[in-house]
């Protein structure tokens, strides 16, 4: 085998699918994932049997994994994966599926992330989230990741001088984007004052710093460009993808993510630089993580995030289009689907199939994923660059 890193030549992503979000649903995750699969094959004009690869991410599928779904949905794939990486699952699914397609291990891979949301889903899923969370975080009060991100946010603000208004600017812009997006659960505009005055959740986090869990699914197909053209599908090209897990474990508090370690390789593979990116779909479980992604993906230096925010506008029509359909903070977080909604939105923007606000002349999109607060920091990071054809 040649001692070089292979590119993602010839890999296409197509058929962006969103199963509409619901605040609460009595249905199981299987329903949302099945709905996504049906929309994929309908959108691609193929039959279920043409899908010979399946990659699934879900928090509420238990006791099933992707395996159970094969029998549940009547599939006989020759490539199967289940990615438990939270908000990084979308990027990682894309990476896995791309290699399978390049190697000929599968021809059409369905990448689906979906979750239901019962009234007790959040409590139940956090209860069995990770050993370190059970042993070293939940006994201390919150249940869920708010505590860890409050620490992160407070540390970042103290260290780099970010203000609540900086984070608020991102949230307000995302809400403006969401108002155009039909699947967003948030329908009302958000002003900076409302953001600043919202009830505190875990200092310094307030209500609009936190996503709202809901039910839904996001999905796309991975195949060769050749196949996409033969099927007549509008598609985007995958030009680069990275992932990294448990980066910088000795940082006392997480203030940078794994993207720092691999971003140079990402841009080199894609043959472009940050200045060529037309839109950034970042994983927005909390605004501070958006700022980390902006810094760590090379748009500015470490700690320059607040200044970057003050100098840019983030609406789809702004000078730095960001989370152009609204992001999780304004659409809702349908469990693991939160890590795929950025990919789906990027495909829509690059193929001219936007449902909401549109970025003019979108040629290159950067999608970033982040997830799995195992204890005190997010362990999984990933990013991918998609290009218009």
């Amino acid at each position: 085998m040649a001692n070089r890193i292979a590119g993602y030549d010839g890999v296409a992503v197509a058929v962006p699918v969103t199963v509409p979000y619901e605040r609460f649903s009595i249905r199981g995750a299987h329903w949302f994932i099945a709905s996504a699969l049906k929309a994929l094959i309908d959108g691609a004009g193929i039959s279920k049997d043409d899908v010979d690869g399946l990659c699934v991410a879900s928090f509420t599928l238990a006791p099933d994994s992707a395996v159970g779904l094969t029998q549940h949905l009547g599939l006989s794939p020759r490539w199967l994966d289940h990615v438990p990486m939270g908000g990084a699952s979308g990027i990682v699914s894309l990476r896995r599926a791309a290699r399978a397609v390049q190697a000929g291990d599968a021809e059409i891979v369905a990448c689906i992330a979906g979750d239901t949301n019962h009234v007790d889903s959040f409590r139940l899923s956090t209860a069995s989230f990770s050993m370190f969370a059970q042993d070293a975080v939940y006994p201390y009060g919150a249940g869920g990741p708010n505590t860890s991100f409050a620490f992160l946010t407070a540390y970042y603000m103290r260290t780099y001088g970010a203000t609540p208004a900086d984070f608020g600017k991102l949230c307000v812009a995302q809400r403006a984007n969401a108002l155009h997006y039909p699947h967003a659960l948030f329908k009302k505009p958000l002003t900076l004052q409302e953001y600043l005055d919202a009830r505190p959740v875990a200092d310094p986090l307030r209500l609009f710093d936190c996503v709202m869990p809901c039910a839904g699914a996001e999905a796309f197909l991975v195949m060769s460009e050749d196949r996409a053209r033969r099927l007549g599908l509008p598609h985007a090209r995958l030009t680069g993808a990275i992932e990294r897990h448990n980066a910088f474990p000795d940082d006392p508090v997480q203030h940078r993510g794994g993207w720092v370690m691999d971003r140079d390789r990402l841009y080199e593979r894609a043959g472009i630089g940050p200045e060529d990116i037309d839109l950034l779909e970042a994983y927005d479980d909390y605004p501070v993580i958006c700022v980390l992604q902006i810094e760590d993906l090379g748009f500015c230096g470490k700690g320059e995030g607040p200044d970057f925010i003050r100098r840019h506008t983030f609406e789809a029509s702004g000078n730095f289009p960001f989370n152009t359909s609204g992001g999780q903070l304004s659409i809702g977080q349908a469990g693991a689907a939160g890590g795929t909604l950025g990919i789906v939105e990027a495909i829509r923007q690059l193929t001219g199939q936007t449902l909401g606000a549109r970025v003019e002349n979108a040629r290159h999109a950067l999608v970033s994923g982040f997830g799995m607060i195992n204890f005190d920091r997010g362990l999984c990071t990933g990013a991918a660059i998609l290009a218009a054809t």
Binding site: F122, R123, T126, A127, M131, F132, Q134, D135, A136, V137, Y138, P139, Y140, G141, A142, G143, G144, N146, T147, S148, A150, F151, L152, A154, Y155, R158, R199, P200, V201, A202, D203, P204, L205, P249, D250, P252, V253, F375, D376
Partner: protein, 414 residues
């Protein structure tokens, strides 16, 4: 920053009594390693025997070198508060009822990060702190970041005092208030701010030195209690069990015979009757009603203390049957702990070495003064430990037992 702890208001009798809730109490087995240290008041973390790296959260193999040889080691707890937050929302009932709640992220000197409850008297991040392992209301180990200097008492912190069993403003039953240790406990508990002490006594014809003075103390009420008499225990529990916040079981029957030293089992039965079955009677009579009051206002039912003996750990053949009765009592106390934990009530076991009393007359010093035992009991209530080994002998035997219980068996048998 911290307010003085105020006397809680009298309870409104027509309002429903709040039921006890607990912090989350699931832990992996390896994380339960923290409890051994916390039970004694120590912060113990895993330290790699191969490379020396300290681990947190607890785990199965060294994070640095993958060695599986991780040993629980006492830590100083010194570190830096690197970030903090105040929770205003929780999906856990226990914390929901106690909002807002402060938490800190601490970087220990040993290079690990941890989440801890944050003492209100700690300065803002960044600042030096000292991390302690305490027992929370679920009886599980929890970390608390305390001010680095000064001995600010946990019981004086308005939020964190819920981890303690502070006698202040509480009503305490001392089951045998007549013995030297019992008298010392009554005095120590009153000094610690108890509102009322019920002084249990039996054998009314016995009037040992110091007893009349106890009866004269303000806030002390004498109550007849013979833990060998089921009727006596049940009647007292019916009369005042619903008001008892802390039980301190000092009743004991101590004789000094090896198993061949006294023919017949009558003496051994008397020791069992008081030390083991007395505890069982008290537990049956007072336990359930105390459980219902585990969250009764700010000074509700909170703790149960058993005066055991270091001989409970490993039989001291010179006092063989007494040792056996204390071992039996320890086993009953462990069962009681498991039952009471559900209601957030802490069972504290005291394992003194020989007390300086008539039954240990022939043992050489060091021996524990009754006042020292009482101090240890009150100290445990004001802190958040559950196993106390007061005095040099107890500490020595505990160290030997933990190091090699078989060697201790031989050493005691010599």
């Amino acid at each position: 920053m911290s307010e003085t702890i105020k006397r809680p208001k009298r309870k409104n009798p027509i309002l429903k009594t709040r039921a006890p809730t607990l912090p989350p109490d699931r832990r992996s087995r390896v994380a339960l390693g923290l409890v051994r240290g916390a039970a004694l008041g120590n912060l113990e973390l895993q330290c790699c025997a191969a490379c020396g790296a300290v681990q947190y959260p607890p785990r199965e193999a060294c994070v640095r070198c993958l060695s599986p040889e991780l040993e629980w080691t006492v830590m100083s707890g010194r570190g830096e508060l690197v970030s903090e937050t105040t929770l205003h929302h929780s999906q856990e009932l226990f914390f929901r009822e106690r909002m807002p709640w402060r938490l800190g992220l601490v970087r220990l000197a040993e290079g690990v990060s941890l989440v801890a409850h944050l003492d209100a008297r700690c300065g803002p991040a960044p600042s030096p702190v000292r991390v302690e392992a305490v027992l929370d209301r679920a009886g599980q180990a929890a970390l608390v970041a305390r001010p680095a200097d000064g001995d600010a008492a946990l019981a004086d912190e308005p939020k964190l005092r819920v981890m303690t069993s502070d006698p202040r403003f509480r009503k305490v039953l001392v089951t045998d208030a007549k013995s030297p240790v019992g008298q010392a406990v009554v005095k120590a508990v009153l000094e610690a701010g108890a509102d009322l002490v019920w002084a249990g006594h039996c054998e009314p014809w016995k009037n040992p030195p110091g007893w009349p003075a106890i009866a004269e103390l303000p806030k002390v009420t004498l109550v007849p209690l013979d833990v060998t008499d089921t009727k006596s225990v049940n009647e007292l529990a019916a009369e005042l069990g619903f008001k008892v916040d802390i039980v301190i079981n000092t009743a004991e029957h101590h004789r000094t015979f090896g198993i061949f030293g006294r023919a017949g089992v009558e003496t051994a039965r008397a020791e069992m009757e008081t030390n083991c079955f007395g505890l069982l009677r008290l537990a049956q009579a007072f336990g359930p009603v105390m459980q219902s009051r585990g969250a009764d206002g700010d000074a509700g039912a909170v703790a149960w203390v058993n005066l055991l003996s270091i001989y409970a750990l490993s039989n001291f053949p010179q006092h063989a049957t007494y040792s056996a009765s204390m071992a039996a009592a320890l086993s009953v106390a462990q069962a009681l702990r498991s039952e009471m934990r559900v209601a957030g009530i802490r069972v504290v076991n005291i394992f003194p070495g020989p007390i300086d009393d008539e039954w240990n007359q022939l043992l050489l010093p060091p021996k524990l003064a009754p006042s020292a035992v009482a101090r240890a009991i009150v100290g445990a209530l004001k802190g958040s430990v559950e196993d106390v080994y007061p005095g040099d002998i107890a500490q020595d035997w505990l160290a030997r037992f933990r190091d090699n219980p078989k060697a201790l068996e031989r050493e005691l048998g010599r």
